[in-house]
């Protein structure tokens, strides 16, 4: 593989990304490349800055310094909707849906922009076949067909988590960021979520924050470990398991966390 190919095959590239809130430094120079088509998990102890990093990539927070590019084009400090239109979609750790819209409408709204309907007030939604079919496809994928006309706010927690992923993938974005998709789920719900994630990210690039190591080792092609705002290691699951530095840093703080 030549150097040029390597450049193109990067879905996401973070160069010396830093973020501080006031004097508190949360992200201290992260360099990270996400290869096109891989499933990449971001792990690390609580407070390591995983969610902050997601917020920086997706445009929710501005960077203090550094740069981020998506498929080779600069997205540093762009607005979330601009980044989303370029093909990056994210989910949230705390369920972030449209509670007073039906499940179906949540998904249909998520495809309007990608299908080019923008701010149109001349077209009837019922006549937009592509939007309907696309939303129905996602609906089937996340297994909520029988909840179709229910208000999203009335769903169970696990159903809302599935919808959260549905909204994220509906537009067909090819870079998907999932922030703790299995947080707060029971064992069986987690298994279902893992199957769902594998299914819906088929052929896409996935970057995922996850605490459940079972899920991480099950899904991820590569893993990066974030500790105190720095990536201390990146590698295959096997490499990460063997890594001394990871074991010390990661497990060390994990233990501290347990003592609290």
């Amino acid at each position: 593989m030549g150097l040029g190919d390597e450049m193109i095959s990067k879905a996401l590239s973070l160069v010396d990304v830093r973020k501080q809130f006031g004097r508190t430094k949360i992200i201290n120079g992260v360099n990270l490349d996400i290869v096109n088509g891989e499933r990449h998990a971001l792990i690390g102890p609580n407070g390591a800055g995983k969610s902050t990093l997601f917020n920086l990539i997706s445009g929710r927070f501005p960077l203090s310094s550094g740069s981020i590019s998506l498929h080779g084009s600069e997205i540093t400090n762009k607005e979330p909707q601009v980044i989303n239109r370029l093909g990056l979609s994210r989910s949230f750790q705390i369920t972030n849906i449209f509670p007073k819209l039906t499940v179906f409408e949540n998904l249909r709204c998520s495809v309007f922009w990608a299908l080019g309907y923008r701010y149109s007030f001349f077209r009837r939604v019922s006549a937009l076949r592509d939007a309907r079919e696309s939303a129905e496809q996602t609906l089937a994928m996340i297994g909520l067909e029988d909840r179709r006309e229910k208000m999203a706010g009335e769903l169970t927690y696990a159903e809302q988590r599935a919808l959260e992923i549905g909204i994220t993938i509906a537009s067909g974005a090819n870079v998907i960021l999932l922030d703790e998709p299995t947080a707060g789920m029971s064992r069986s719900e987690t298994d279902a979520a893992v199957a769902l994630i594998s299914r819906v990210t088929e052929g896409k690039t996935l970057l995922m924050v996850e605490h459940d190591m079972g899920v991480v080792f099950n899904i991820a092609d590569r893993i990066s470990v974030l500790v105190y705002g720095e990536v201390v290691a990146t590698g295959t699951p096997a490499e990460i398991r063997m890594n001394k530095k990871v074991q010390e840093a990661y497990l060390g703080t994990q233990l501290e966390g347990d003592e609290e």
């Binding site: 979330p80 989303n84 972030n96 409408e105 701010y119 007030f121 019922s126």
Partner: protein, 405 residues
Amino acid sequence: MSEILNKGRLVLWGGVAFLFLLLPFVFSGGFSLSMLSQMGIMVIFALSYNMLLGQTGLLSFGHAVYFGLGAFVTAHAINFVEAGAFGLPISFMPLVGGMTGLLFSLILGFVTTRRPGTPFAMISLGIAEMVAASALMFTTFFGGEGGIVTNRTAGEVILGISYGPQIQVYYLIAVWCFVSMGLMFAITRTPLGRIANAVRDNPERAQFIGYNPTRVRWIMMSLAGFFAGIAGALATINYEIITAEALGLMASGNVVLMAFIGGIGQFWGPMIGAVLVTLLQSALSNFTQAWLLYFGLLFLLIILFSPGGISNLITIHLPVWRAGAVKRLMPSYGFALLTGAITLIGVVGVIELLYRGFLFGGVHVAFTWIVSGLMISIGGFFLRRAIREVKQIWEDLSPELARWG
């Protein structure tokens, strides 16, 4: 399936058109006709307001600005037509008002829609106050306290329509009301309409599905301004005079009340509010000077007991009706209605006594005081029991209704 739905909808809209056509034959008096005209205007205005509040989640305290500016520009336009400066049939004057409303909401909305919630509400209040103050300052355009007088019979008579008789004005308003209703309903069924709901629910997530919430709010506000302007123009044509009151805070507050009383959760909610409030304002004010107090009382009761407004009260009964459980509610509703009426009469008695200054007096006054007091205490006592009973039956019904919801 959608075709059947459309057929049902067609019947519904046909029914509305028929109703508009028929109303003046049923209520043919001069007073009723001017009240119906007023209702039509307010229906457009209230619906346009709900494009902001109900659909986009923008609580505006200055929506009358666009109504009022549309009305003033229309008044001048009609006067220009009368002076022979240009020719535009009166029938199309609402477009002048609409475009005026659109223009100003485009300009002002650009500044105000950046932040939703309390900042938006406060800024809208500020702008309403600013425009109202300007209206008293720039007297050439706004006509000072006397306002701008105009003549709706200006221009040529087309097909015998001179807009001299009120019935012709009523039908003009009815046509524009029907068209505006149709358009505003259609907008709720477009990508923009749906995204407006999404932005109302969760503006942050809307950004992460590719939408700029500020842009969505701005477009919705501009469209709402357009329809408010149409309503304003119709008001000018209807009354042939427009004063600064039309764009003041009272007028802006009025439309908020209409929307809340009717209910902001359903498209048709504000229509009920507009009709009811207009009815109260025109009819009740004939009976008592204290009508504003009753109006306030009604608003209070609705916010307390049915925060979703009258339309919500109707929609929560749909599942009951489908489940065939209306019969079970009827006795307790009858009981509540009876005790409510008794209490209400007592309250009205006390209010009227106080309002008219009959604190002490002859035997009649004392008698009225005693009867009113008794009605309030006895009626109120049983009303509370009735309300408890109603609540209990609703609780008993809830598992059944869940299946029909």
